[in-house]
């Protein structure tokens, strides 16, 4: 029986986490070394959790498909990390960050989790400063802030345009320290391919050594998945090439419920697609919207160069439509407006599928040096890719898939529906509702890893009894066998269509039918097409190379196989959710072009239960209760 108990502690919102921490059971220091914990993934959530758990005294086994923990995709986050320090003296507070996040997520997140996130986020900044993260500072030596979308205060801490890199290096270094102290064993180039359950508890993983091709069995007392999001279901996204859903998807197939898969975030400011060979999309940080102004020509099909278009003939449409937030409206809204403007024929560039992000005003106001200090590396990156100089001509941007708010369902303790399976960071569904605000992903990853999981995992270990388990137990070997069969099958099909081609086809279906605007007919069509694609994949995929050395085609084949299945679940969830909220926009449900929620019918998180190959998944609902905010139509006008 599935138990969807969210385990939200009693008491007023502000006291829940404090009370809960006191009620959580502890493992005494001398006993901690008796427990083993597997942590999959070494991004912000994984590295911070692994390091913090090891510091407590547990034996931690850390896994990455990369050569080094520092390659994890958190490294690419640019703009910043939120915390309600109120250093800017502009009225920020835990309550305000909580409120902005709940509202930004269009009231589709769990109140208690979001409040806790806001509550612990201040400590993250302190922690990172102590680790040597070189955050931007003012001339007095104090920490500097900037603004991000969906907020009217400046609460975003940053390290130039490389905040993710610097935060990850902080947690990576904390992890290395524990590796050297032999409290963490790091397994490089290992990809988790399945989850091992024993007597109903998560007890281990099957991983493939990507260098030798050998399958390896690992067992522990708890398994932590911090494996990131699934944006690459869409083929082209801002995610790194290797980012994938395999760990969470295979855990899902073993019984972990998958929540709100249709909540995908399309980021408004990315460099537009330029050719068929394009392998990925590059994000231009949201922080640019602090100083950049988004506009298109007022005239359709205006082919003049941007600097030839006078001020009076430009439409700064976000400033016009949303005067109180201007260019800093949340991502879902900025993306939708950009799509609409381009669909209506006002887009710019050769493809007409982009809008301008212009820094002319800011450069005139602040000087080129000030802009270079804030955004220099982003400008360089843009120039490198497009060969255009954004100091002189406006950037051209268009929305792209960026982040996935959905993920494995977790309770207040960040534990999934399988006991002992903890899910952190982007891999879980917990904090961002239907739309994530900028600079909140880094915040969540580190909150989960440094300040939440160490408490809740200790409680789990302290309260459960564990049966002895060896790697030769059938609970382990049975799963290993199944993984082995899947790999042999992939290598033996020897069909005609490449893995890349399948991924591309899936991506097109997803982008066209399950993208920024969705409707019933398109979603049904997507479900049918993806079912056919799955059939075709398992009969006609061509995977070259061998199984006993590095084989990136085989690695990708497994990931794409899972993307196809997850893609279908995304469409199924989007079809079920007959409302618009945040990043999930159903054309049938809108009011003046804005998302129209249906709080009567859909005030729940949809948690899907796997039922077997090609079977429709079973829907479970976690009703969302809002005690301290009143639900309103989101307005940024």
């Amino acid at each position: 029986m599935i138990n969807l108990n969210s385990n939200i502690p009693e008491g007023p919102l502000e006291k829940k986490w404090t009370n809960h921490k006191f009620n959580l059971k502890l493992v005494i220091p001398a006993n901690r070394r008796k427990y083993n914990i597997i942590v999959v993934g070494t991004g912000l959530a994984g590295a911070s959790a692994a390091a913090s758990l090891a510091e407590l005294g547990y034996n931690v086994h850390s896994f990455s498909y990369h050569e080094s923990p520092r390659r994890a995709h958190s490294i690419a986050a640019q703009g910043g990390i939120n915390a309600p320090k109120n250093y800017a003296n502009d009225g920020d507070s835990i309550r305000r960050l909580f409120y902005d996040t709940i509202k930004g997520g269009d009231y589709r997140a769990r109140e208690s989790n979001v409040y806790r996130l806001a509550e612990v986020s201040g400590s993250i900044i302190d922690q990172c400063v102590a680790q040597g993260v070189p955050f931007a500072r003012d001339y007095a030596g104090y920490l500097d802030n900037r603004s991000f979308g969906g907020a009217q205060v400046s609460r975003t801490f940053y390290a130039r345009g490389q905040t993710g890199q610097q935060l990850l290096l902080g947690s990576y270094q904390a992890l290395l320290r524990q590796i050297d102290e032999k409290k963490v064993t790091f397994y490089q180039r290992r990809e988790m391919l399945d989850l091992v359950l024993h007597n109903g508890k998560a007890r281990g993983i099957i991983a493939r050594n990507l260098v030798t091709g050998k399958l390896e069995k690992y067992i522990a007392d708890a398994v932590v998945l911090a494996t990131g999001g699934y944006g690459n279901v869409y083929h082209l996204s801002t995610n790194a090439k290797a980012s994938n859903a395999t760990a969470i998807w295979r855990a899902h197939k073993r019984g972990a419920l998958f929540a709100n898969p249709c909540y995908t975030q399309i980021h408004p400011t990315c460099i537009p697609v330029s050719g068929d060979y394009q392998s990925k999309l590059t994000l231009m940080s949201e922080s640019l919207r602090n100083d950049g102004r988004i506009w298109v020509p007022k005239k359709k099909d205006d082919n003049r160069k941007p600097n030839e278009i006078p001020e009076s003939e430009r439409d700064y449409y976000l400033e016009r439509l949303y005067p109180s937030f201007g260019n800093l409206v949340p991502r879902d809204i900025a993306s939708r407006r950009a799509k609409e403007i381009c669909d209506n024929g006002f887009g710019v560039g050769t493809s007409k599928m982009s809008v301008y992000l212009d820094f002319e005003n800011a450069i005139n106001r602040l000087g080129k040096d000030a802009i270079a200090e804030k955004y220099g590396n982003l400008f360089d990156m843009y120039k490198q890719i497009t060969s255009e100089n954004p100091y002189k001509v406006p950037m051209r941007i268009y929305p792209a898939v960026h982040y996935t708010m959905g993920g494995l369902w977790v309770d207040y303790n960040l534990m999934g529906t399988i006991p002992g399976l903890f899910v952190l960071g982007e891999a879980n569904f917990s904090d961002h509702g239907a739309n994530r605000l900028g600079a909140s992903a880094l915040m969540q990853g580190l909150a989960d890893g440094y300040f939440i999981a160490p408490y809740t995992i200790s409680n789990y270990l302290a309260t459960e009894k564990f049966d002895k388990l060896s790697i030769d137990n059938t609970s382990v070997t049975k799963v290993e066998k199944e993984v082995e069969q899947t790999i042999s099958k992939l290598l033996s099909i020897n069909g005609k269509i490449t893995v890349y081609e399948f991924h591309e086809t899936l991506g097109k279906i997803m982008w066209n039918n399950v993208g920024m605007a969705r409707n019933k007919k398109g979603l049904q069509e997507a479900i049918n097409k993806i079912s056919e694609l799955r059939e075709e994949f398992w009969n006609n995929v061509k995977v070259v190379g061998r199984g006993d050395n590095i084989n990136m085609q085989l690695e990708k084949a497994q990931r794409v196989a899972d993307f196809i299945e997850l893609g279908k679940l995304i469409a199924t969830d989007a079809l079920n959710r007959e409302e618009s909220c945040g990043g999930h926009f159903r054309e049938e449900h809108q009011f003046n072009g804005e998302a129209k929620r249906d709080d009567k019918k859909f005030i729940y998180s949809a948690a899907w239960e796997y039922q077997g190959t090609n079977k429709k998944e079973k829907l479970h609902k976690e009703k969302l209760e809002f005690e301290s905010v009143s639900l309103t139509q989101r307005s940024y006008k």
Binding site: P134, R137, G141, S279, I550
Partner: protein, 245 residues
């Protein structure tokens, strides 16, 4: 454009490698170097041949995964870019391009263009951190940091650990990499406390991993995709002398 590629192929660490020639047609100047290799790999799959393996991930020059010698230069022509940010507009029709893995004793080749740079992690795990535990930390603004120091630390912290400095160096020295970490942490008040121990341990670890010595050729700085300055090496030497006097 059409290009003639000469690419290093090697099955695994135990086998001998060799160069193989490939021609690629219809290369657009807007493609990145890795996208050009993707196109070639797709052709190889259709022919039923094993693809060319190369590490890559973020494709925006920050993860440090990619890196290869292109016509003898780490990350190829052009300053301040990783291989993934190199665009084909840097080449012209008919060019011959030689592509091989980063070569260094400390970076064994695993397959084709994939090398193992975990020696970098093993160096840093000896002290490339500030020993702050999770929790019990004072407020972020408790210790002001001079803006200038913070900026210089950030310049050094921008290192992506790709190994180009080692590959570019005739001695396969890791001095630029190590000095960047020593500078990043040593310039900040939070990191100064452990400076002496850190620099001694990191230098010892670097030698143990079989990286060579620095003879001031400046090749590392010239080929570093993040343009990390050799001033950091001078700073490392200063710290090291202070620590060992």
């Amino acid at each position: 454009m059409k290009l003639h590629l000469k690419i290093w192929r090697q099955v695994n660490n135990n086998s001998k490698g060799k160069f193989i020639n490939y021609d690629v047609d219809n290369v657009s100047e807007h493609m990145s170097f890795l996208e050009m290799l993707d196109v070639l790999n797709e052709k190889l799959v259709h022919k039923g041949e094993d693809t060319i393996s190369f590490d890559h991930d973020c494709r925006e020059g920050i993860c440090g995964s990619c890196g290869m010698m292109i016509n003898g230069f780490a990350h190829g022509p052009g300053a301040g870019v990783a291989t993934c940010q190199l665009h084909m507009r840097s080449f012209k029709d008919g060019d011959k391009i030689v592509i091989e893995p980063f070569r260094a004793k400390a970076f064994p080749v695993l397959k084709d263009l994939v090398v193992d740079r975990s020696a970098f992690d093993r160096i840093l795990q000896k002290g490339g951190y500030i020993s702050a535990k999770t929790g019990g930390i004072p407020d972020g603004n408790a210790i002001p940091v001079k803006k200038e120091d913070s900026e210089t630390a950030m310049d050094a912290a921008a290192c992506i650990g790709c190994g180009a400095c080692v590959a570019a160096c005739p001695n396969s020295s890791a001095m630029l990499f190590v000095s960047a970490k020593v500078s990043h942490l040593g310039l900040l008040p939070q990191g100064k406390i452990e400076n002496k121990e850190r620099v001694k341990k990191l230098v010892a670890a670097m030698d143990e991993e079989m990286f060579g010595s620095c003879t001031n050729t400046y090749a590392c700085e010239a080929e570093c995709p993040k343009e990390i300055s050799i001033t950091n090496i001078a700073r490392l030497n200063k710290y090291f002398i202070k620590a060992t006097l």
